[in-house]
Amino acid sequence: MKPVKIAMMTMTHGHTRKYYQTLKDNPKLDWVAVSAPDPDARERFLKSVQGIPCYNSDEEMLDAHPEIEAVVLASANDEHLKQVELCASRGIHILSMKIPSFDMEEYDRMIEVTEKAGIICQVELELHYNPVVNRVKELLAAGSVGNLQSFQATNITLSPVFSFPWQGMPEKSYGKRIALREGDGRFRGGALCDHPHIFDMIRTITGSEFDTIFAEVAPNLRKDIEEEDMLTVTGRMKNGVVFSLDPSWSRLENRLPAPGPGWEIYPKRMEVNLVVNGDKGSLLADCFGPNVYHSGMPDERYTVRYTYFDEWIGLVDEFVDCIRTGKTPQINLRWHKKTIEAMNACYDSIQKGEPVSL
């Protein structure tokens, strides 16, 4: 299979660095260039990767490299529509970050332009390429716990806002400034916007769609950010499965300018745990464990050192396969739309103080 000539755009997303190894190692890819208009992002990239040309704008990069076939949009959420339109106009396939847009008109526009251009647009939900999740899917599909009755999940992390400031800006993260609710000084765009994975995973595992959602925000752990950092979500799927989801930034962080050793205060900086109850049993899963543990430098604090984190290999493989064979990615814009709608319903529920029906 001919390697796909790929580029990355903007380089300000928290997942940017996770692509470096895969883009360098995967023989199905030929990493051509990156664009990094932000000086800090450019500096970070140039320190991390050698030999890949770095341009100051997306257009400059695409003009200089008409051979580019696909891009990873590693940008803030409010830049996605413009970049999707740019890529679509040039017939370039897109690997989108996990939130294409929270604005459903923008979202529909993305569907329209990508479908009209006949390009692949895959959404990055890397949990689908995690071996533990594979096992969970296989066990549940085999009926190991019987008929599903409830689904609980955490997707809890530290907050990236001090390393990736756009995530702390409601206009850039959520796309606009909307108060969480009357009398609350916080705005949409925080922890919920960072954690779509479990909203997607429950749809995959139950094979059903959201019916009712009730969400509540708790007092912020970080008093100096504008967005929510602690919330809880409960509700019911259309097939009756009830759920409880925790998409919080409930792990405090040291406020480093870039992720690195010593970022975490709590030992585990990121956790996705699942509990599924059925009429014949229960299943518990830790999607990122077990690991190796230490109390070494820089803070001599008990810390998890993750031992496997290779979701980007499978994710990029699927993207390449779809480009070359014309298949539709499992996480495409149309599939993912209902996940985004559910996340918006969480904000609506918080705003109203009532459950919301979908």
Binding site: P27, Y129, N130, P131, V132, N134, R135, V136, K137, E138, L139, A141, S144, V145, T204, G207, P261, K280, G281, S282, L283, L284, A285, D286, C287, G289, P290, N291, V292, Y293, H294, S295, G296, M297, E300, Y302, R305, Y306, T307, Y308, D310, E311, I313, G314, Q330
Partner: protein, 246 residues
Amino acid sequence: MKTIHKISTPLEGLQYLAGRYDVAVPADAKIQKDGLFSTLTAGGKTIALLPWRSERKFVELKNLTIDGTLKDISVLRSCHIDYDGTDMKKLLCRELDLAEWIFDAKLEYIFTMKNGKAANTVARLRNGIVCTLETAATLAPEAQTLDKHEIIASKGVALDKVVDTQIQQNSVYLYTDQPEPDAFTDTDFELYGLNAEDVALVRCALEALKDPAAAEKMNAQAARLEQLAELALRSAETGRKLIVED
């Protein structure tokens, strides 16, 4: 739900990975697990594999000793309990190699006490790190092997077990109609279907196929490890501390 691609055997895993990464697999390729060392036979050559070096928990423990996380390392304490009937030499080869490989240093001496299915070894590396290696072969078939490796330094402790636990944690626990849950740990998306040990075996075999020089080094180290394990058993027989000669 989509059908999940699943690997059934180490050889199938090797062929799959080799195909993905453009590595040629000779037609006679064969992986065997029944000797003192697991081996890869390919292109008429047999290579003794050191698969634990490809286990991600050991890769990360080694990284912690290199990247400045641990400073001024004093001790390695390991405990490995394997299946009843496993050759003690095989257990010693693994633990002795891990000690040398993690700290990139040769052993200076070995002292072993053995009784029945169990042996305890004290060994010192030439960089001064002291290793306590506790080994036993007592487990029933199908039991989960017990494995603990703890590195103690003046700045930091690192280990492959969670604090306050004695046995291996797993990624997935399935509770059905039995009092004890079924447990699963899957560590590699590309090689999904293989357990962690077989994943490491395949990764190691791929490395040997890709890099003939690395394969030669593995063969040389395997021969050395056999001698080291024999030295440990001789120490146990004689009750003497034995110096490792080059």
